[in-house]
């Protein structure tokens, strides 16, 4: 394997690690808001690392542009959607960490 392949493998492994951490947080954290926190790490950093790893292996400029576009889109929309969901949950009167009683 060449240097760039090693590097890209490293990046992808790191990205996968962030996804693992995100899922772990999703499972282990106590309420919506903390879970949101875990989730956005996977979205932003994890996917970013995977994108970087894949980008290292590509020669075509079009692919590169698409990769960056995908990452940017996920970044923007996941951040906004998470914000919207948190806002909607708050608006409906659920305080953070106070929903143990729900079910």
């Amino acid at each position: 394997m060449s240097v760039s392949e090693w590097l890209s493998a490293l990046l992808i492994a790191a990205g996968t690690g962030f996804f693992l951490a995100g899922s772990a947080g999703l499972l282990r954290f106590p309420d919506v808001f903390t879970r949101l926190h875990a989730l956005t790490k996977a979205d932003n950093v994890g996917l970013g690392l995977v994108v970087a790893g894949v980008a290292l292996q590509t020669e075509s400029a079009v692919t590169l542009v698409k990769l960056v576009l995908i990452w940017w889109l996920v970044l923007v929309s996941s951040a906004t959607v998470c914000c919207l969901i948190a806002g909607a949950v708050l608006r409906h009167g659920r305080a953070p960490a106070a929903e143990e009683e729900a079910r």
């Binding site: 576009l69 889109l73 923007v76 929309s77 906004t80 959607v81 914000c83 919207l84 806002g87």
Partner: protein, 331 residues
Amino acid sequence: MIPALDILLIVALLWLARQALVARDLFKGVVLFIAFGLLLALAWVRLRAPDIALAEAAIGSGLTGALFLSTLGRLRRMEREAGQAEPPPEDGRRGGWTGGFLTAAGTVLVTALLGWAVWALPAGAPGLGDAVQARLGESGVSHRVTAVLLNFRAYDTLLEVGVLLVAIVAVWAVARADFPFVTRNAEAGSVPPQQTALVNLLVPVMLVVAGYLLWIGATAPGGAFQAGAVLGGAGVLLLLSRPHWAVLPERRWMRTGLAAGLLVFLGVGLALVIAGRRLLEYPAGWAGALILLIEAAVTLSIGLTLTLLFLGGRPAAGDPAPTMTHTNQQP
């Protein structure tokens, strides 16, 4: 040896489907179904069907999910307005124990028979792939699925575009839109600013992507259906957020847009008949251009149809840009 990825995918799909279908809480069922659609798109990728994966990514999890979510939201609101604190309990054991057993046994029997039929399928059936490949050069496009859709079996697709029109007509006949993108008078101004920003940003990208998919459909996976689905997604975002720059087109333009796909498709077909050819038998050299023309119109119609299906009813008469009139359900 079956790759681990496929086994994992299939197990996850079946489990998700099961969980989605047995969930008493319908919201839970719908979210599980959305996740199911996401994985289904991955399954299409594994089955080397990128065209389907594109459509599924847009529709299966995206638009269908949004439709279900919005319907459930409206159902809950109607239940609350009717003074039902809790959704009425759903009886799951209709017919009692024996009925449940018979149903389960019957379903298992049918499934087993079908499964056996699949198992016994003759191996190496050639399918129509070779036939398509043989005439691909004459079709006007170089992507096989598009060639089948808009040339070899174009009459099929023509009728399917017609079905979409029938669907929207039926929806308009059943319900008047309660303008669900404005859930309440009081809520009219309550679109959070970050949502507006997101929509202002995403919708232009979606328009570009739709155009790209439409164009690339001639040579690679993509085409009118995928592009129309993405367009529909953009429309749904607009309905949910109503940025100041977006208004529903006037009724007559809306109707023209809805029918455009079918009209152009039929028009091309009839023009060819008048010119002495068979229905949708494109002349050599013209096929590519005619297919692109039809696809462009069909993309527009599908996008508009999906958007207005999400709206869930006929926009009120004489009210091209819907105001906040609150007509929940007509009596």
